[in-house]
């Protein structure tokens, strides 16, 4: 079951990663990247890493993607025009790619760690989110407040920089 979910999410992730490159409209590319991130979050969930999965969706698919879309808007990127494929460039690129993949596979296959499965993480029935929560509020109360102050400073900076005529 876990293996099936792993394959579903992996294939979907690679599919959307390919679409990021293939799509001619930059906004469509960005949205494909969102789907890629969400599938990656699904992979994290199957590995019991719930916190990092949620962060992946909240921060990457949410916040970072907003920045990407903002850059697309700011630079006024338009749909790419279709280019003619040059046969010599195509085969040259393919040759380089094959050499690269060959070198990578050869290097990775010889590592003994690749063929081992890491032992399952000992969670003791507590989810990683609860672990992080307890650690955060038992040990790191003060740093949390400092993070709040940093966010406050960032908010003031954003508001100040982006509006010239303030009240």
């Amino acid at each position: 079951m876990q293996l099936a979910i792993f394959w579903i999410f992996s294939v979907l992730m690679l599919l959307f990663a390919g679409l990021v490159v293939v799509m001619r409209n930059p906004v469509a590319s960005a949205l494909s990247l969102v789907m890629c991130f969400i599938c990656l979050a699904g992979l994290y969930f199957t590995l019991d890493a719930f916190f990092i999965g949620i962060i992946q969706i909240l921060v990457y698919a949410g916040a970072v993607m907003v920045l990407f879309l903002f850059i697309i808007m700011l630079l006024n990127l338009k749909e790419e025009v279709a280019r003619r494929l040059k046969l010599s460039a195509f085969f040259g690129g393919g040759l380089v790619l094959c050499g690269f993949v060959y070198a990578m596979v050869k290097a990775v296959i010889n590592l003994p760690e690749v063929w081992q499965t890491a032992p399952k993480l000992e969670t003791g029935g507590i989810s990683d989110v609860a672990r992080i929560g307890f650690k955060l509020f038992e040990t790191y109360n003060m740093p949390l407040q400092i993070v709040g102050v940093i966010l406050l400073v960032a908010t003031i900076g954003v508001v100040f920089l982006s509006s010239r005529q303030l009240r």
Partner: protein, 131 residues
């Protein structure tokens, strides 16, 4: 392992139903449009946004206002706030029983600091769109 996954799947069933309904709605809406829209004959003129009047003279993508930047950055900042509230909400009840009310005041302090940021943005008119 098998039992554990059974429990997991039962918990995720509502999420799965949610996703399936979402995809189903999109597919039905697109399919209905496609099927009903075939009634009339298509032509190049009919596929343009405006069938009559002047040809649109400006570029197809207008420049975006800098106000979007403000909204995007404010979204990111308060998104980070939510990231910290997520483990807080998960452990809140258990922590309260074990360790006391510190967790409540810790988060109140954090939210209080960010409330100052929110009020600052509000006072400076960052949320007013038509300015």
């Amino acid at each position: 392992m098998g039992k554990w996954w059974g429990v997991m799947l039962e918990e995720y069933l509502p999420a799965l139903v949610h996703v399936v309904v979402g995809i189903g709605f999109a597919v039905v809406a697109l399919l209905t449009n496609f099927l009903l829209g075939r009634a009339g004959a298509r032509s190049k003129a009919k596929d343009t946004p405006y069938e009559c009047g002047m040809l649109p003279a400006i570029e197809e993508q207008p420049r975006f206002s800098v106000k979007f930047y403000l909204v995007a950055m404010l979204f990111i900042l308060f998104d980070i706030e939510v990231v910290f509230m997520y483990p807080w909400a998960v452990v809140f009840r258990e922590y309260l029983e074990r360790e006391g009310v510190l967790i409540f005041w810790s988060m109140m302090g954090f939210i209080g600091i960010l409330l100052v940021a929110f009020l600052y943005a509000l006072r400076k008119g960052a949320m007013e769109w038509s300015r």
